[in-house]
């Protein structure tokens, strides 16, 4: 491609997020041919949310192959996607890759690239797998060397990125992930599709079997292995609960250290989510989102607490207690306070579709709270609020659907609106029972 069209392509900027899908795929193909130029990388960073959404077929490159073992640890692209425990910044990869290329040498790189092209063109999966293993082993060695040089400050300038302890940890995790890449490939196959909402026994068996193989060869690598496994779950604390019961064939001290390491990361992760929750002050329309967030945090807190109890560790107790306190306060002030007025108001007066939707979300939020109220010590408060609201709603439904003279003149939809709110708060069984009783009473004998 000549320079002018290339520049105009890069100049498209934000427009790349809006052009039609076919053209977008074409542009991605063209950008890939332009190599690793900083402007190209910047453009890719900008369009990454759309790439993640559309997943256009990308040209296999050595850099992409390099990232494959630890891609689950990347910072999320799409809004709302969860952040993995011990994230690896994409910027670290972009700055590290040229150094790895330097360590591998142009001859070796050219040979790997040629093999990759050959395997891709022929569609030869076995050859591609063989190449991947050889490449990951060589890349692991290269990253290890880079890490050593960075530690001694000799490559800091070439890296062209401020090296914080966190980034240093990321580089070391990358080296480890590359060294155990085949095991991570097996792990990905076992924990698919990502994100797993629930860990079944066969998932755990496979994680344990792969982990045992790994522990025999390299005990230190288990940490990265466990981090990747956690990143493939909808909630990383799910793995924490199961981890204590897993036998990777380690010594008890190593097992405890591994558990402590993941626990620390998971607790920090929970704290981060709670902090983010405190920063955002959602309005009335977001009450269901508040309940979802609270339920997610309580699930993580409970799973972590259970894991801590089994392992008899208490060092995180205070931190977990603080998070729980913050969630308690959020539920009390944002969901319980004013619920009755909010919900009943929409049944008694016409508030329009948006008003009804808002009140319905509040009702749903109350129901969701029922699953976490015990854990937050809010059982009595929640029961008082729901009992009072349901009783008022039942009265409203009775008035309209109860068969009285007054009821005959009313719009039955108002009665059904009250029944629906009861259903959203107390569930369909209760709502069906109340409706059944009202209609039975209304029927002439």
């Amino acid at each position: 491609m000549s320079t002018a069209p290339a520049e105009s392509l890069l100049g498209l900027g934000d427009k790349l997020l809006e052009i039609d899908e076919g053209k977008f795929r074409q542009v991605v193909g063209l950008l890939e041919h332009m190599g690793d130029h900083p402007d190209v990388l910047r453009t890719f960073s900008m369009i990454r949310p759309r790439l993640a959404e559309l997943r256009p077929k990308r040209r296999p490159t050595l850099k992409r192959l390099f990232c494959e073992p630890f891609e689950d640890l990347f910072d999320p692209v799409l809004p709302g996607e969860k952040t993995p425990v011990n994230t690896i910044e994409r910027a670290v990869i972009n700055h590290l890759w040229p150094l790895v290329e330097g360590q591998l040498g142009s001859e070796a790189l050219a040979a790997f690239a040629a093999q990759q092209r050959e395997a891709t063109d022929a569609g030869n999966a076995a050859a591609a797998a063989e190449l991947a293993e050889a490449f990951w082993a060589a890349a692991a060695e290269a990253v290890r060397t880079v890490a050593l040089l960075l530690e001694t400050g000799r490559l800091t300038e070439a890296m062209d990125l401020r090296i914080s302890p966190e980034r240093m940890r990321a580089v070391q995790d990358i080296a480890t992930a590359l060294a155990i890449a085949p095991a991570l490939a097996d792990l990905k196959r076992a924990l698919a599709p990502k994100p797993l909402a629930k860990l079944h026994q066969d998932h755990l068996d496979e994680v344990q079997a792969i982990g045992r193989r790994l522990a025999k060869a390299d005990g230190h690598a288990l940490k990265v292995f466990v981090l990747v496994a956690a990143a493939r779950l909808a909630d990383p604390s799910l793995l924490l609960g199961a981890l204590w019961h897993m036998d990777f064939g380690q010594k008890p001290a190593d097992r405890a250290a591994l558990f402590a390491e993941l626990s620390g990361s998971v607790v920090s992760h929970i704290e981060e989510r709670a902090r983010a929750m405190g920063e955002g002050k959602p309005g009335a329309a977001d009450r269901l989102a508040v309940a979802d967030l609270a339920a997610g945090l309580v699930a993580s807190l409970d799973a972590t607490r259970k894991a801590m109890e089994v392992s008899r560790r208490s060092e995180f107790d205070q931190r977990l207690k603080q998070v729980r306190g913050a969630v308690h306060e959020m539920v009390r002030t944002q969901l319980l306070a004013g619920a009755e007025t909010d919900i009943l108001g929409t049944v008694e007066t016409a508030v329009g579709k948006d008003g009804v939707k808002q009140a319905e979300n509040h009702a749903r939020a109350l129901r969701k709270c029922a699953t976490i109220a015990d854990s937050l010590g809010l059982r009595t408060e929640l029961r008082q609020v729901t009992d009072k609201t349901v009783s008022a709603l039942t009265g409203a439904a009775q008035q309209v659907l109860g068969g009285s003279q007054q009821a005959a003149a009313a719009d039955p939809r108002a009665g059904y609106a009250a029944i629906r709110m009861i259903e959203l708060i107390s569930g369909p069984v209760e709502a069906n029972r109340i409706l059944g009783e009202i209609l039975d009473r209304a029927r002439p004998l």
Partner: protein, 367 residues
């Protein structure tokens, strides 16, 4: 409750028609009549296998916790007795209009009701226009006077009497024929209609769905891609049949004089074609809405949508297509069992409020 492991229905009636339930495990399950003319419901994939469970209609609330909307819909369907796609749609709209599936579904049901009424008026007028055209008369005078106005109606009567005389059909009989045609063709409308009727619009949605999911499946590395590809194939088979039936109907209307003159044979052809079309497109409204709603969402959510579509996709019955789609679906399921397993939430039987909410939102789009 009994289970049928290899459920390969031969006819549409045996396959049953989809019910717009909001209880997740019952969403888009199919209802049909058993040999004693009693309603029964077919529930797919309760466990992780293929096949369906057959539950007596009356026993449904005992087997599953149902939403208030669904209990009311179930009662209404039982009371009305019919279980054709049209019967079920009318019942679903009636319940949704009470607001029991939320404000979006209520609004959509109101809009659909209004649209039905408009289409009824429109097709009546268009068919009268076709009658007049068939005998060389113009309907522009009526249009100018206003169809609903007194003068417009007077003009219509005069022209219809003339048309009846020309065709050798009693005017009353001519009116009856037009009314019968209008009632049968109301959901399909005429090809010349300025506003396509419901089933023509749905056909367009199905074309878009097929293209979109086929594109997604071709360009995707997801484990759900082969399942998506299969869904596109089923849509394609269905579309082929829909095109044939609509072509036949449009052809019949194009030779309107023949249609009126050979009424005894042609009315059956039209009726059968209309019924067949409603069966062919039954269940697709929910699926196309589900897919459209998933666009722009995360990979995981798209995968879930594909699996859900696969679970409820209306496979053509054995006698309706050259390819045995039930057999093909079985193969797809066996090959992708591992990928399918992770999405058991829809089938757990637990009443998940989030899933109910999602289905209600889809009702808002699909009604």
């Amino acid at each position: 409750m009994r289970s049928l492991t290899n459920f390969t229905p031969a006819t549409f009636e045996e396959r049953g028609a989809a019910v717009a339930f909001t209880t997740p495990v019952l969403a888009q399950t199919r209802v049909r009549k058993d040999e004693r003319d009693q309603l029964e419901v077919l529930i797919p994939n309760l466990s992780e296998g293929r096949g369906v469970y057959v539950v007596a209609w009356k026993g449904l609330p005992l087997a599953f916790p149902m939403t208030v909307h669904d209990r009311m819909l179930q009662d209404l369907i039982a009371k009305n007795g019919g279980c054709s796609p049209d019967d079920l749609r009318k019942a679903a709209m009636e319940v949704a209009r009470l607001g029991l599936a939320g404000p979006e579904a209520q609004e959509a049901a109101e809009a659909a009701h209004k649209d039905d009424e408009e289409q009824r008026l429109l097709i009546n007028f268009q068919l009268i226009g076709e009658v007049l055209k068939a005998v060389g008369l113009e309907s522009t005078d009526i249009l100018r006077a206003g169809l609903a106005s007194e003068q417009g109606q007077r003009l219509t009567r005069t022209y219809m009497i003339k048309a009846g005389q020309h065709l050798g059909i009693e005017p009353t009989e001519l009116y009856l024929r037009v009314a019968e045609l209008a009632s049968a063709m109301e959901p399909i409308g005429l090809v010349s209609s300025p506003k396509p009727a419901r089933l023509r619009r749905l056909m367009g949605e199905l074309v878009r769905f097929r293209d979109s999911i086929a594109d997604w499946a071709t360009d995707n590395v997801s484990e759900a891609a082969p399942i998506g590809g299969f869904c596109a194939e089923v849509a394609e088979h269905t579309l082929n049949h829909v095109r044939t039936v609509i072509g036949r109907l449009d052809g019949a209307v194009a030779s309107f004089e023949v249609l009126l003159r050979q009424w005894d044979t042609q009315r059956k052809v039209v009726r059968q074609a209309c019924t067949r079309l409603s069966w062919l497109l039954d269940g697709w409204e929910f699926i196309t809405a589900l897919w459209a709603e998933s666009q722009g969402k995360s990979r995981h959510e798209l995968d879930i949508a594909v699996h859900e579509i696969f679970r409820i996709i209306p496979l053509l019955p054995r006698n309706e297509d050259k390819v045995d789609l039930s057999l093909e679906a079985g193969k797809v399921f066996t090959l992708n069992r591992r990928a399918v397993r992770a999405y058991v939430d829809w089938r757990t039987g637990q009443l998940d409020a989030d899933l109910v909410m999602r289905i209600e939102a889809l009702k808002g789009r699909a009604a």
